[in-house]
């Protein structure tokens, strides 16, 4: 028997992600999915952001890692609400993990929900978590050719953070090359050159966040 099907293989994940997006919109929560390789500085960026903006916004974090709750403890130390999801070896978060994690949050009292994905430049890109925007993070010691090597992430992201700018004098990272290729894929993508150690460039990232929260609340 021949059975013609034509069904999107990721339909279950995408359906749940759409339901989450609707729920987040109802509560006007801006949701950002942070994607980078391990060690690029996602948690450091969150620590700075949560501390620096804590008088402006109520923020919550879903932390994804294979093992440990180290990151959830780090971000919770800023006073933000944080839930750790351990994937036990899984290489990405998916929408049902987010659905389970947000039961711990009061969405009506949340302005921004950060989803810190498992460190990986490939797999998380394929799994919608119900976010408004994907944010690509890249740190300068990783090399300026990452947008060329992992184009799908940079194509699908709405902003790029180039982190660890304080290390630029010590590594051969051509900022213009990274920016050029990222904007080839995504011509209006804002790019923030930041250092979570020195605080350089964070103000631009904060302004982008403020504008995104305003836009979400006025919808």
């Amino acid at each position: 028997m021949d059975i013609p099907v034509v069904r999107n293989i990721l339909e279950a994940n995408e359906k749940m992600a759409d339901q989450l997006r609707e729920l987040f919109s109802r509560h006007a929560v801006l949701v950002l999915n942070l994607i980078s390789s391990p060690g690029a500085g996602k948690t450091s960026l969150l620590e700075r952001t949560l501390a620096d903006l804590k008088n402006e916004f109520s923020m919550a974090v879903v932390e994804g890692d294979c093992q440990t709750d180290n990151d959830a403890r780090r971000v919770a130390a800023t006073g933000a609400k944080a839930v750790q999801v351990n994937t036990d070896g899984g290489c990405h978060l998916n929408s049902s993990m987010i659905q389970a994690a947000i039961q711990n949050f009061d969405l009506a009292a949340t302005d921004i929900l950060f989803v810190e994905n498992v460190g990986n430049l490939v797999c998380p890109v394929e799994f919608d978590c119900g976010e408004d925007f994907k944010i690509a993070l890249l740190s300068v010691p990783e090399g300026d050719d990452k947008p060329e090597k992992y184009p799908v992430l940079f194509e699908k992201s709405s902003a790029m953070v180039l982190n660890k700018s304080d290390l630029l004098p010590y590594v051969d990272f051509d900022v213009d090359r990274a920016k050029k290729f990222a904007t080839h894929l995504n011509k209006d993508m804002p790019i923030f050159l930041t250092s979570c150690r020195t605080g350089e460039g964070l103000e631009g990232w904060y302004d982008w966040l403020r504008a995104a929260v305003r836009a979400k609340k006025s919808r």
Partner: protein
């Protein structure tokens, strides 16, 4: 290795479709995947094999069909199939523009056909 997660969603869909059509044995399934998706066909086949071991799907073959890339030129708007699909370098045969085209096909991932008994 997100192919493990994709294989498990695929298996769920196959089981649903078999039940819907009153079939009990899967002979083959065909998956179409765009050339620009982050999917490794061999890895998906391997993941499918591992997850169907000792189940009624174990003897089925998984056929992977690649969907080529077609784009609409970001400059002149004409459609073409690049010789080397590379998100950064797909020169338009009509006007020469090298990148920033609109991808029309090549990002799909779906199950399109089952053969069952």
């Amino acid at each position: 290795m997100h192919e493990m997660a994709i294989a498990s969603s695929l298996i769920e869909i196959i089981q649903e479709e078999l039940a819907k059509h009153g079939a009990t044995k899967l002979v083959s399934a065909r998956v179409c995947h765009g050339k620009l998706t982050n999917i490794v066909p061999d890895a998906l086949q391997f993941a499918f094999e591992v997850q169907t071991q000792e189940t009624p799907l174990a003897t089925a073959t998984l056929e992977m069909m690649e969907i080529p890339v077609t784009v609409a030129c970001g400059g002149c708007g004409k459609e073409f199939t690049p010789e080397t699909p590379d998100l950064f370098y797909m020169p338009c045969p009509h006007c020469g523009r090298e990148f920033a085209h609109e991808v029309l096909t090549g990002k799909e991932l779906y199950l399109d056909h089952l053969e069952a008994e």
